[in-house]
């Protein structure tokens, strides 16, 4: 490596920060180790244009500043896709804007590292200084496996460190080994590949590493990429190099390959054979193992948990418990956040005078940020369960059992959990697709996940089902002195709405499979790790990481959009009349509070009528003021509705009315729907505002139901009939009205193309679905 090639970075400074790549097979505790080394001090992002997660951790070991670059878990460094190539480029330090890698740490499972040595032997071929970390050393020892570390170091020509990342054992040794590996220059270990292949690689490297096409800025092409080009015929490296190097390279590569084939090498299998032969030789020298009875323990647990009958039953019960808990445990927390949100609004409203600033902060910012934060408990809980199920080893079993069913839709078992999670919220669902290694399957799963009925759709269903679906009961049982409905029409409609998206997802996935993501169904090759007790450090770390990512990234977009919607709904109307009214309401509330200090809390909203006079006989004066207050509130609400109609949002509503009329809607429903594109549950508040009730209405507020029920069209017909209610619900079931989801789709796919696509197809589906529902419904139901 020549220092002169990088004149801009002084040597001293470069040596002060050491960049270490963390590489390893899946299921070796790699992320646990990463978290133990970097703590919470990590940045997560994406490499541009691909779905590869870029995770960089920072640490300070003595006077050494360390930057840890976590590469995705992998079995090999043989790129077969763009994503895999990016990981290799990151390791080779080739990515623009990223520094060079000074050292590669290969994390392996101490209990079974023969297979891990395949990857390690590829790392050695990159020429980077390397360290082999035998992680989970405690459990290997407990299983009676003895490894001669010194002999292993000799055999692989690199430092070996034993760690147990979940207890923190061996981390100091690891830091010392890093310093040793950086200071002592070992002679490069000989490649495990046969000599003729090494010679051909060297020849290609010598004549082409500096050859380049027009772009003069590309640096030297590393040796390892030439090795890959020879071995991976039709692979991603070859494509990459053909585009990067001069035309003579392709010819020379073919010549090198044919010389090797004439020499009797099968290039498709020689690499695996040579590296595994080396790995077997090494492990035979250094590992002494006693009989391991607990290997069979996992088999025995599997016998039950993947049994043809018990397996699916256990799985269903587990899923049921998970979703039950997400709904029931999260609701007090959600309530807590909503209370906080309300208090914050009141607090700000208390010292800011009514006006644009107060409205911006209370309705726009607190309302907007609140609508994001409210999801946090569900996300945290869902990720808690996912992390426990994953870390214990159960998750891969669930994928394994569900694979056959998912294959019928063109997906694989690995898509099952992300889709299941999306029933709570598509945001963690889309994030959970990271465990899917096939690009095609992952994209398909991401694109259909937002169709699953998330919890934010429930308030919409509850509002319209309870108000407009007749309460017809078919099977009633008298039990314990009460009447229980086994089957009711409202329940059926609710159930249908919840499953509609999932049913529609089947043909959508199939169509995407035939069109955009054509090709053979991707293979299902998945490792099933040993069962183990989940480590709390890993589980809680994962939950924290996901919550943080959710708040930071999705929060920013929702925040911005809600402010836009607020501004559209607020301007350009003349609000002086409303302001005067609001001021009078505030004064009057203050007076009432003074008169009856015991009822200090009854000042907001439409509640005084139920709280004030009933408890104790109030003075006629107080009653009069309360009546006046209620009248003022009603007037203010009516005025708010009128102002909304005059606002930009209202004007947009009138413009789009011809578009939504075939769905049975009027401009008010149209506007409420538009306003709810950043987050679908916003529709409740918007409907409330529009129907003259002010912005603060929830789905249990019967007066919104009553208002909706009373609402008439211009020609005096009833606005919301059963077909209209159904059409609204179908629209909400299928539409991508969630800024957070689209944001997370952008983040996970690394391109605006996919959220745009997702939004377009879902909105089209929603429109057609709502259109069919209304047109057919109004003919059948009249």
């Amino acid at each position: 490596m020549s220092v002169a090639a990088e004149p801009s970075s002084p040597l001293r400074e470069r040596q002060a920060t050491v960049r270490i790549a963390v590489v390893g097979n899946p299921n070796t505790g790699k992320s646990t180790l990463f978290n133990a080394l970097a703590g919470m001090n990590a940045r997560v992002g994406n490499y541009p244009g691909v779905t590869v997660e870029k995770k960089i951790g920072y640490a300070r070991w003595g006077d050494l500043r360390v930057e840890l670059v976590d590469l995705p878990g992998t079995y090999s460094l043989s790129p077969r896709s763009k994503d895999e190539l990016i990981a290799v480029e990151a390791l080779l330090g080739m990515l623009p804007g990223e520094g060079d890698i000074d050292l590669a740490m290969c994390v392996a499972d101490a209990g079974n590292f023969e297979r891990n040595l395949f990857l390690f032997s590829q790392i050695l071929d990159t020429g980077k200084p390397a360290i082999l970390i035998l992680n989970m050393a405690d459990s290997a020892e407990a299983a009676g496996i003895r490894i001669d570390g010194k002999a292993l170091e000799g055999a692989i020509g690199a430092p070996v460190v034993f760690t147990s990342a979940n207890t923190g054992r061996g981390l100091d040794d690891l830091r010392q080994a890093v310093e040793r590996a950086l200071t002592q220059k070992r002679p490069a270990a000989p490649s495990a590949l046969p000599r003729p292949i090494v010679e051909e690689t060297e020849r290609l490297h010598d004549s082409h590493s500096r050859s380049k096409l027009a772009d003069a800025n590309t640096s030297e092409t590393p040796y390892y990429l030439f090795e890959r080009a020879i071995l991976d015929e039709g692979g991603e490296t070859e494509r990459f190099l053909f585009a990067r190097l001069s035309a003579g390279f392709e010819e020379d590569l073919r010549a090198a390959r044919s010389r090797l084939q004439q020499g009797g090498f099968d290039l498709g299998s020689i690499e695996a054979q040579s590296r595994y032969a080396w790995a077997q030789k090494v492990t035979a020298q250094v590992v002494a193992r006693e009989e391991r009875p607990e290997k069979r323990l996992t088999d025995r647990v599997d016998r039950a948990l993947t049994h043809w009958l018990i397996g699916p039953l256990v799985f269903l019960v587990t899923m049921f418990i998970v979703f039950q808990t997400i709904f029931s445990w999260a609701s007090p927390l959600i309530g807590f956040f909503e209370t906080l949100q309300g208090l914050a609004g009141e607090f700000v409203g208390g010292f800011l005078p009514p006006g644009a600033l107060q409205s911006l902060i209370v309705d726009g910012i607190i309302g907007g940020v609140g609508s994001v934060v409210v999801f946090l408990p569900q996300i945290a809980l869902l990720f808690l369960f996912i992390a426990i199920l994953e870390d214990s080893g159960y998750m891969p079993r669930a994928a394994y059992m569900m694979d056959r069913l998912m294959a019928a839709v063109g997906l694989s078992g690995k898509s099952f959990l992300p889709l299941m999670s999306s029933f709570a919220c598509a945001v963690p669902g889309v994030m959970a697709t990271r465990t899917i290694d096939s690009y095609r399957d992952r994209m398909l799963t991401i694109l259909v996940a937002p169709l699953m009925s998330c919890s934010a759709r429930l308030p919409v269903y509850i509002l319209f089902v309870e108000a407009f679906v007749p309460d017809r009961r078919f099977l009633e049982v008298d039990l314990f002195g009460a009447s229980w409905t086994l089957i009711g029409l409202q329940g059926i409609v609710m159930f249908a709405m919840v499953w509609l998206g999932a049913v529609v997802a089947v043909p959508v996935a199939a169509i995407l499979r035939w069109t955009i993501f054509r090709g053979h169904s991707s293979p299902f090759v998945m490792e099933l790790p040993e069962y183990r007790l989940p480590s709390w450090r890993v589980v809680l770390g994962r939950v924290y990481e996901q919550c943080q990512a959710f708040i930071v990234r999705a929060g920013t977009l929702i925040f911005a959009t809600t402010i836009v919607i607020w501004a559209l709904g607020y301007f350009p109307s003349d609000r002086t009349e409303l302001l005067a009214l609001e001021q009078r309401i505030e004064d009057l509330s203050g007076e009432i509070e003074e008169v009856s200090p015991a009822q200090g809390e009854s000042t907001d909203g439409a509640s005084p009528d139920e709280e004030a006079p009933a408890a104790e006989p109030a003075s006629p004066e107080l009653e009069g003021r309360l009546a006046e207050l209620a009248a003022l509130e009603a007037e203010a609400n009516h005025l708010r509705g009128e102002l909304l109609e005059e606002s930009f949002l209202g004007r947009i509503g009138h413009v789009i009315e011809p578009v939504v009329r075939p769905l049975g809607w009027d401009w008010r429903i149209g506007v409420a729907t538009i306003a709810s594109f950043p987050a679908r549950e916003v529709v409740i508040g918007t409907l409330g505002t529009i129907f003259s009730l002010g912005g603060d209405v929830d789905e249990n507020d019967t007066s919104l139901r009553a208002e909706l029920d009373r609402a008439e069209r211009d020609d005096g017909r009833k606005l919301v009939t059963l077909p209209v209610a159904l059409s609204i619900m179908v629209f909400f079931a299928l539409c991508a009205q969630c800024g957070s989801t689209l944001m997370v789709v952008y983040r996970e796919t690394g391109s605006w193309r996919w959220p745009a696509f997702c939004f377009t197809y879902m909105t089209a589906l929603a429109y057609v679905g709502a259109l069919l529902t209304y047109q057919i419904g109004s003919r059948l139901l009249g």
């Binding site: 079995y75 090999s76 043989s78 077969r80 209990g111 079974n112 023969e114 297979r115 395949f118 991976d232 015929e233 498709g268 299998s269 690499e271 695996a272 054979q273 595994y276 290997k295 996992t298 088999d299 599997d302 016998r303 993947t306 049994h307 043809w308 009958l309 397996g311 699916p312 891969p396 394994y400 059992m401 694979d403 056959r404 069913l405 294959a407 078992g413 293979p523 299902f524 090759v525 998945m526 490792e527 099933l528 790790p529």
Partner: protein
């Protein structure tokens, strides 16, 4: 003497083990299987089948691998090496 018919991995009964003769093909899947250590001479045991009959779990080189029938068919096993369940 006739060569014994090639048997593929998916035909291996539960808990039986055998030696791999060859992983056929040179596409991404076959390469992946080789990278995971499914090579000629390697011993494999089938340790379970999914509730709906596919995929199945194979135990090889100390780890468990779930493979669909379609992928397991690429793996030829040595018929003479098949050992039935020991338990």
């Amino acid at each position: 003497m006739d060569k014994p018919l090639p048997l593929t991995l998916d035909a291996l009964p539960r808990d039986a083990s055998a030696r791999i003769a060859e992983v056929q093909g040179n596409d991404a899947v076959s390469r992946r299987l080789r990278e995971m250590g499914l090579l000629a001479g390697q011993s494999v045991r089938r340790s379970g089948t999914a509730p709906l009959g596919d995929p199945a779990i194979y135990f090889v080189r100390g780890f468990r691998l779930a493979l669909r029938r379609a992928e397991a068919r690429r793996v030829l096993i040595d018929q003479s090496s098949v050992e039935p369940a020991v338990d």
